[in-house]
C-alpha cells in the first residue's frame, strides 16, 4: 500500500504534503516547528484507517451491525491536537491499495469522512496495521514499571500509556535482552510481585541495578530497542487482529453470524513505529548505533513489513543516514538503508522541505550544520 498525508492549518502546520511515504521517514526542525504534530496526525490517521479495515472485515464477514463509532473529538483530545484545530483545518490521509484503488480518510470542516459503512475497503484491499507511538515520555517507563501498583489509576497521557502497554506486551515475551550499543543486558525477572526489570553490565566491571536507577540514556533507548525487537520478531499480527475482531464480535453478540471473508494470513500486514527523538540522553556514538540496530531489526531481519517515522534534532543521526545508504548501495555487511525508501524532511515555518538530494544518493545534512557554522562565524568575528 502507498500512503500520502496532507495537513493544512493545524497548529504550527500551515500546509504540509507528504507523498508516497517511504518505510523510513525522518523529520527535523526547530522545537515547536510541528514535527510531533505531523507524527501524531500520521499515527492517528493510520489508526483510523486500521479501524476502517476492521469494520470492513466484519462487514464483509456478515456482521451487519456497526461494531463501533468514530469519535474524532475524543481522538484529537487524546492526541493533544484539539487546541490546534480550527474551522480551516484539513487533513487527508490517502492509501493507494495494490489494486490501485484509492482510500481517503479525511477530516475537514470539523467532520471525519472515509470511515462510514458506505466507504468500506474492498475485501481484496484490506490490511492489518499495528501502530506503535514511542513518545518522549518513555523515560517515565522505568519508574512507572517499578511503582505501577502504587500508581494504579494514575494517568500520564494517551501516548505514555500507549507506549507503556506495548512495553508490557514486549516484556511479557522477553527474558533477557542484549543492548550492544550500551554494552548492557536488560533482564526481566518474574517475581511474586510481578515483573522486575534489571540492567546488567556486559563489561568487565560486573554490576546489576534496577532499570529505574540506570542512566537516562539507558532508560530512554531500551524501550525503543525492545519494542523494535518485539514488533519485528515476536509480535503476531494475526493474533492481534483476531483479538480486535473478537472484542467487537463479543461486544455485539453476533459471533454466530460471523463468516470470515478472508483468511487473516491472506491479509496484508504492516507495523508502524513512530518514535520521538530517539537520541534522547544518548552519546552521539550510541545514537548512531541505536539507529543501525533499528534499521537492521525492522528492515533487514524483520519477519513483518515495517515502517518507521522519527523526529530528531540530532545532526549525528541525520548524517548517519548517509552511511547507512552507502552501506546498502555497496552491499556492505551490517545495517543498510535503501535510499529509495527513505524520506527526510525539514519542518520549518509550517511547511516542509524535502532533504533528499535528487542527483546524489545522499541526504542534505547542511541544515543541521548551520549551527556549527554560525558558532564559528561568530567566533571568527570576535577574534
Amino acid at each position: 500500500m502507498k500512503e500520502s498525508l496532507s495537513i493544512s492549518n493545524l497548529g504550527p502546520i500551515k500546509h504540509v504534503e507528504l507523498n508516497d511515504l517511504g518505510d523510513f521517514i525522518v523529520l527535523i526542525g526547530e522545537s515547536g516547528s510541528g514535527k510531533s504534530t505531523i507524527m501524531k496526525v500520521l499515527g492517528l490517521f493510520r489508526w483510523l484507517y486500521k479501524m476502517q479495515n476492521i469494520r470492513s472485515y466484519l462487514k464483509h464477514s456478515n456482521i451487519s451491525k456497526s461494531p463501533f463509532k468514530f469519535r474524532m473529538e475524543t481522538y484529537l483530545k487524546n492526541c493533544g491536537l484539539e487546541e490546534f484545530v480550527t474551522p480551516k483545518t484539513s487533513i487527508i490521509y490517502r492509501v493507494t491499495a495494490s489494486s490501485d484503488k484509492v482510500y481517503d480518510v479525511k477530516f475537514a470542516n470539523g467532520r471525519l469522512s472515509g470511515t462510514s459503512n458506505s466507504e468500506l475497503i474492498y475485501a481484496g484491499d484490506m490490511s492489518f496495521i499495528k501502530i506503535s507511538f514511542i513518545s518522549e515520555t518513555r523515560n517515565i517507563i522505568p519508574l512507572w514499571a517499578d511503582k505501577g501498583a502504587q500508581l494504579a489509576g494514575g494517568y500520564l497521557g494517551f501516548y505514555f500509556h500507549e507506549v507503556y502497554n506495548d512495553f508490557e506486551l514486549a516484556t511479557n515475551a522477553l527474558k533477557d535482552f542484549n543492548i550492544p550499543f550500551l554494552n548492557l543486558k536488560f533482564a526481566v525477572r518474574r517475581t511474586s510481585q510481578g515483573k522486575k526489570f534489571m540492567i546488567e553490565s556486559a563489561g568487565k566491571n560486573k554490576y546489576e541495578i534496577n532499570f529505574k536507577n540506570s542512566s537516562s540514556g539507558t532508560q530512554t533507548s531500551i524501550p525503543i530497542s525492545i519494542l523494535a525487537d518485539y514488533f519485528s520478531s515476536t509480535f503476531n499480527p494475526e493474533e492481534a487482529f483476531n483479538r480486535s475482531l473478537f472484542k467487537y464480535l463479543s461486544n455485539s453478540d453476533r459471533l454466530t453470524d460471523f463468516k470470515p471473508v478472508k483468511n487473516l494470513s491472506e491479509i496484508d500486514q504492516k507495523i508502524f513505529m513512530h518514535i520521538e527523538e530517539p537520541e534522547l540522553s544518548l552519546f552521539p556514538d550510541a545514537q548512531c548505533m541505536l539507529i543501525s540496530s533499528l534499521v537492521e531489526k525492522c528492515f533487514q531481519k524483520s519477519v513483518h513489513k515495517m515502517g518507521i517515522i522519527l523526529s530528531t534534532h540530532s545532526p549525528y543521526i541525520v548524517n548517519h543516514l548517509n552511511l547507512l545508504i552507502k552501506s546498502y548501495d555497496t552491499k556492505n555487511d551490517g545495517a543498510g538503508l535503501d535510499y529509495e525508501k527513505v524520506n527526510v524532511y525539514q519542518v520549518v515555518d509550517g511547511e516542509i522541505f524535502d532533504l533528499k538530494i535528487k542527483n546524489q544518493r545522499l541526504i542534505n545534512t547542511n541544515p543541521l550544520s548551520e549551527t556549527i557554522d554560525n558558532i564559528y562565524k561568530e567566533y571568527n568575528r570576535l577574534a
Partner: protein, 215 residues
C-alpha cells in the same frame, strides 16, 4: 534581459522607472565567482561567493537584480523577499539562473552570545527569496517567454561555509567534520522544491565552495 526589466517588468507592475539601471557585467572566462557587491564578477579563487565554471567559454551576463529591485517604489518592494543576481548566457540560450549568495547576509548568521530568539535559517530564507523572485519574473509574459527559451534553468543557493577558527587553528575540527558531506561530490545538490519546479526551474544548493557549471 535588462531591457525586459526596465520596460516590460515596469509596465507589467505599473511601476515608475528607477533613477539608475541595474548594475550588470559580462564575462566569458572559464572560471569566475559572483558576488553581490560592486564587482559582481571576480576571477581570483576565493574573492567571490558563488563559483562558476564556464568550460565552453560562453558569454555570460550577470545582473544585480537586488539593486534593481531596491530602486523600485517602496510600495512595490515592501515585504518582498528577493534574490541577489541573475546570470545567463547571452548569445546562446543555454543557461539561465537566479542566484542567492548567503555568506554576505549577516542578518541570518545567528549570534548565540545574545538571546535574540530563533530566526529562520538562511537556507530556508534563500529558498523563499529565489522562489519569490522567480514568481515575480515569470508573471511578466515577455520575461517568461524569454526565460522559457533557455535549456537549463536553475535557482542556485550558494552557501559559503565558515572557515575554521583562525585563533585556535587546527585543533577544532567541528566545521570541517560537519561539512564533510560537501566534499563527497563536486556537483551541487539538486533539491526538491515543487513551487520552483512548477515554473520550469530546478533548485540547486552549492555549499562549501562547490561551483555551478554553465553548460
Amino acid at each position: 534581459m535588462d531591457t525586459l526589466l526596465t520596460n516590460q517588468f515596469l509596465t507589467h507592475y505599473a511601476l515608475a522607472k528607477p533613477n539608475a539601471s541595474a548594475p550588470a557585467k559580462e564575462t566569458n572566462a572559464k572560471y569566475f565567482e559572483l558576488s553581490d557587491d560592486a564587482f559582481l564578477i571576480h576571477f581570483v579563487v576565493g574573492d567571490g561567493v558563488a563559483p562558476y565554471k564556464n568550460n565552453s567559454v560562453l558569454q555570460v551576463k550577470v545582473i544585480n537584480y537586488e539593486t534593481f529591485h531596491i530602486g523600485l517604489p517602496a510600495a512595490f518592494t515592501h515585504g518582498k523577499q528577493i534574490c541577489d543576481l541573475l546570470a545567463y548566457t547571452k548569445l546562446v540560450n543555454n543557461y539561465f539562473s537566479l542566484n542567492e549568495l548567503t555568506d554576505t547576509d549577516p542578518a541570518y548568521v545567528i549570534d548565540f552570545t545574545n538571546s535574540t530568539g530563533p530566526r529562520k535559517g538562511k537556507r530556508n530564507k534563500a529558498m523563499d527569496q529565489l522562489q519569490n523572485t522567480l514568481s515575480l519574473l515569470m508573471a511578466v509574459p515577455d520575461i517568461k517567454a524569454f526565460i522559457d527559451n533557455f535549456i537549463v534553468k536553475k535557482c542556485c543557493f550558494f552557501n559559503k561555509k565558515a572557515t575554521p577558527p583562525t585563533v585556535v587553528p587546527t585543533i577544532l575540527t567541528a566545521i570541517t567534520s560537519f561539512n564533510r558531506i560537501n566534499t563527497i561530490t563536486e556537483e551541487g545538490f539538486e533539491m526538491s522544491h515543487p513551487a520552483i519546479e512548477a515554473l520550469g526551474f530546478k533548485l540547486f544548493e552549492y555549499s562549501g565552495g562547490k561551483a555551478a557549471n554553465i553548460v
